[in-house]
């Protein structure tokens, strides 16, 4: 069933999950990995995110689009608990994420930000940062494999100061993947890249989500990018969902 919702309150989140807009080539969705229930956040009198209900399944990409200031990035930050919800919650594999230790939660819900924010040093030091926080060492072969997957073979010993924007974003992606997350959050990951790099990162994201069966949420202001990447899309305005459903239908309707 494909269904487009346009409402201030989308009600039962299940209607969104059922409304898979995947292309014919995409496999049928598996279990729900990430679910938000009436997720809201306000700071002072300002409502940044208001009563958002969505579900994302393994191997699925959900795009979040909307104008500047719509609350897209605020919503994404709530998903890995970088910010605290003021109402509602998030379920990770049916478990309330507040019952999961924050560090463990963020290992499982990886996030790539708009800016790569690499740590000074080599590419390999950045890649192994996450596992190192848990006292795990990454073998050079593991780092090389990961770099090869993101199209940066031989970059292991490079200083991050010498990378282009596209390369830095790929390192940021590889660094997140080194934690083997179940959910991948992408906050405008290509907004600072040239067209060629954008396409490269998009293909990479599509391939990785399929391979690793991750649930993926991508915030983008670029509607064409949402069409190219996402199975389903939600449109946010003033912190709330105003449209949701299969990407082509939602973006065509709105």
């Amino acid at each position: 069933m494909t269904k487009t919702a346009k409402s201030d309150d989308l009600g039962d989140a299940a209607t969104l999950t059922d409304s898979s807009g995947a292309g014919e080539s995409r496999p049928r969705r598996a279990m729900t990995v990430l679910e938000t229930r009436h997720l809201s956040r306000s700071v002072g009198q300002r409502l940044l995110v208001r009563d958002v209900n969505v579900q994302v399944s393994a191997g699925e990409i959900l795009a979040v689009v909307g104008p500047s200031g719509a609350g897209k990035s605020s919503f994404l930050r709530l998903l890995n608990r970088l910010d605290e919800p003021t109402a509602g919650t998030v379920l990770l594999e049916s478990r309330d994420y507040r019952s999961i230790a924050p560090r463990e939660l963020r290992r499982r819900i990886g996030m790539v930000m708009q800016t790569a924010f690499l740590f000074s040093g080599t590419v390999s030091a950045n890649i192994s940062f996450g596992p190192r926080q848990r006292g795990e060492a990454m073998a050079p072969t593991q780092i090389a494999t990961l770099l090869e997957r993101v199209g940066l073979s031989g970059f292991s010993d490079r200083d991050v100061g010498n990378l282009s924007g596209g390369e830095a974003q790929r390192v940021a992606l590889a660094r997140t993947l080194a934690n083997a997350p179940e959910v991948l959050l992408l906050d405008e990951p290509t907004s600072a890249l040239d067209e060629a790099s954008v396409r490269g990162v998009e293909e990479l994201v599509l391939g990785l989500v399929q391979e690793r069966r991750m649930a993926c949420v991508i915030v983008t202001h670029n509607r064409e990018q949402a069409v190219r990447l996402a199975d389903r899309t939600i449109v946010m305005e003033a912190g709330r969902i105003v449209a949701a459903g299969a990407t082509r239908e939602v973006l065509h309707d709105s």
């Binding site: 700071v43 300002r46 940044l48 500047s68 200031g69 719509a70 609350g71 605020s74 890995n80 608990r81 970088l82 910010d83 605290e84 507040r98 924050p102 560090r103 463990e104 963020r106 290992r107 990886g110 996030m111 930000m113 800016t115 924010f117 740590f119 940062f129 996450g130 926080q133 848990r134 940021a172 660094r175 997140t176 934690n179």
Partner: protein, 282 residues
């Protein structure tokens, strides 16, 4: 006590006032020189000098009374100085809950440890007439180091929100994400004290040594004692800087390992500048 006060307002005071008149005359000449270049500081300079002179005469009279008191009074004076120093340093921490208390503990830890160590090693006599002036010098330096470290640490955090949250997003311990900024803040707060130590005797001869020599002490002993005092100032500064940043570190993250000290979330385009919010701790 009154007799002591009266004796201190004797010939020395008249001589001091005459010297003050000379100093004021020199300052007035500089003000005139400034006026020649259309730099008008006359009114402000006159007010500042009048205020400074009155304040110092008042402090001198109060000290003349207090220095006749017991060690307990001396300790109370140092405690009051520490509270005043905490108020001053806490101005750099506006927006952070409990900033005043953080500064108080940091300055008290730095100055208290060092003063206790000096008394224990007999570098400082437990005599109010020595304890208060030397103690105040140590408290003042601990206050400066505390304020500098706190301000630098806060500025580093606000400047590096992205890096810190990138680290948190990768599952890092909150303390690990701010470790480089804590280190640079403490180091920066110690730099003036380290420079002071390096230039000791070469660029300046500090007041304690000068005072001891004027009162007839051996110049070599006065020099060594001055080194001891500057070293203790460095130690007090280091402790104060470390304590304030470590205490701040525990306040800038919530119990859910979220960075609380970050620019307010404002939809882009709605406001040009963003204040720093300190979120309610969970």
């Amino acid at each position: 006590m009154i007799a002591e006060l009266q004796s201190s307002i004797g010939g020395d005071v008249l001589m001091g006032l005459a010297q003050a008149v000379g100093a004021i005359a020199l300052c007035a000449a500089v003000v005139t020189l400034c006026r020649w270049q259309a730099i008008r500081v006359g009114r402000e300079a006159a007010a500042s000098m009048a205020r400074g002179l009155v304040q110092m005469v008042f402090v001198g009279m109060v000290l003349a009374l207090l220095l006749q008191g017991s060690l307990l009074i001396g300790s109370l004076i140092l405690l009051m100085m520490t509270v005043a120093a905490a108020f001053t340093a806490a101005r750099r921490l506006q927006g952070l809950d409990g900033g005043l208390l953080l500064c108080f503990w940091a300055i008290a830890a730095g100055a208290g440890t060092v003063i206790a160590a000096m008394i224990a090693t007999r570098s400082l006599r437990a005599d109010i007439s020595i304890l208060v002036p030397v103690g105040s010098m140590i408290i003042a330096n601990a206050m400066n180091a505390c304020a500098q470290a706190a301000e630098r640490f806060r500025a580093e955090i606000v400047t590096h929100v992205g890096q810190i949250e990138a680290g948190l997003s990768l599952g890092a311990e909150p303390a690990a994400t701010v470790a480089p900024y804590l280190q640079s803040a403490v180091y920066a707060s110690l730099l003036p004290r380290l420079d002071m130590m390096k230039s000791l005797g070469l660029v300046w001869i500090p007041g304690v040594m000068a005072g001891m020599m004027v009162s007839g002490a051996s110049p070599v002993y006065a020099a060594i004692y001055q080194f001891v005092v500057v070293a203790m100032i460095l130690a007090a500064s280091g402790i104060a800087g470390l304590v304030v940043t470590v205490l701040m570190r525990s306040r800038v993250f919530t119990t859910a390992a979220q960075l609380a000290l970050r620019p307010t979330e404002v939809p882009s385009g709605s406001r040009a500048s963003v204040p720093i919010e300190s979120e309610r701790r969970l």
